[in-house]
């Protein structure tokens, strides 16, 4: 019986050419690195805004309607916030004060066994939208120490214009 050539010695080492695979892998890595965008987390404010007549009041007659007037400067910045006929709030502390006043109003309404008041935002046309979102944020709820949200006002709408 003839001896098969090459089987007697040690195991033959098979060299796989890794170069094409590494090339492709680096191409993929470069593609993902270049297209990668760090997306910041986004959150929502849900509003129910059915079409209304201009003179419409609150949907439920038992609900108190509070109008928050947001006045803008010529550049679109917030000039002042006015809750109904209360003295206007100005400066960087306007939103925290607004929040505290809304908390008081909601607590009074809840204490009297009524629904939370409905908020109508009457903003100047020029006002930057971020101020409206800050207003909604100030009236919609409050954060506790653990980061949980306690809802305050559930119905927020824009004043018809």
């Amino acid at each position: 019986m003839p001896k098969i050539k090459g089987t007697g010695g040690g195991a033959a080492k098979i060299d796989i050419n890794m170069t094409p695979m590494i090339d492709v892998v680096f191409q993929l890595l470069a593609f993902f690195l270049m297209t990668f965008k760090v997306a910041s987390p986004e959150g929502d404010f849900n509003l129910k805004l059915p079409k209304e007549e201009r003179s419409a009041g609150p949907a439920n007659t038992q609900t108190e309607m509070i109008t928050i007037r947001l006045t803008a400067t010529n550049t679109g910045d917030l000039a002042q916030i006015q809750i109904e006929a209360n003295p206007p709030l100005r400066g960087p502390s306007a939103f925290p004060i607004l929040h505290n006043q809304i908390v008081k109003m909601v607590n009074i309404a809840r204490g009297a066994g009524q629904d939370e008041p409905e908020i109508q935002i009457d903003a100047d046309d020029l006002l930057r939208y971020e101020n409206v979102v800050q207003t909604i944020s100030a009236v919609a709820g409050q954060l506790d120490e653990n980061g949980n949200i306690t809802p305050l006002v559930k119905k927020v709408k824009f004043a018809p214009k």
């Binding site: 590494i22 892998v25 959150g43 404010f45 805004l49 944020s137």
Partner: protein, 148 residues
């Protein structure tokens, strides 16, 4: 002399395994994080920040995403459009929803508006949607960490 030469002839092959392992880990990381819903999150729009804005728990029903840049132009289906064109396209959307035996008032209009845009533009957009029977609106904001 010849025997000594063959002993010194050692090929310098580095072990590629850890590098390939690492590279595949990186590819897997980027593949998992790739954002396929890029059309609905235009990066040029700077959303207003809010501490109360929390990410939604689930996808909304029949969402229609309307994005507005700082100049008040609305981005819908990949194009920046004037309000008149947005109304026309939303009318078509509303007709499609009705054809599916659904009511537009149960659909969700998601508004991703730039924080610098004038409130009038956002209000006009909402009014246009209201005219077509849409009632549920989601104002999107950038989730901000609570100040301690």
């Amino acid at each position: 002399m010849a025997r000594l030469k063959s002993k010194l002839d050692v090929s310098a092959e580095g072990d590629m395994t850890p590098m390939i392992d690492m590279t595949f880990q990186l590819i897997a990381f980027f593949m998992v994080l790739i954002n396929f819903a890029d059309d609905n999150t235009n990066q040029s729009i700077k959303l207003p920040a809010s501490e109360l804005a929390k990410p939604p728990e689930g996808p909304p029903d029949d969402p229609i995403v309307l994005q507005m840049d700082q100049y008040g132009r609305t981005l819908l289906t990949g194009d920046f459009l004037p309000l008149s064109e947005v109304k026309r396209r939303l009318f078509t959307q509303a007709q499609l929803i009705k054809r599916k035996k659904k009511d537009p008032k149960n659909s969700n209009i998601i508004i991703r508006a730039d924080g610098r845009v004038a409130t009038k533009a956002v209000r006009e957009l909402i009014n246009a949607c209201q005219e077509l029977g849409f009632e549920n609106y989601t104002l999107r904001a950038k989730a901000e960490k609570a100040k301690t």
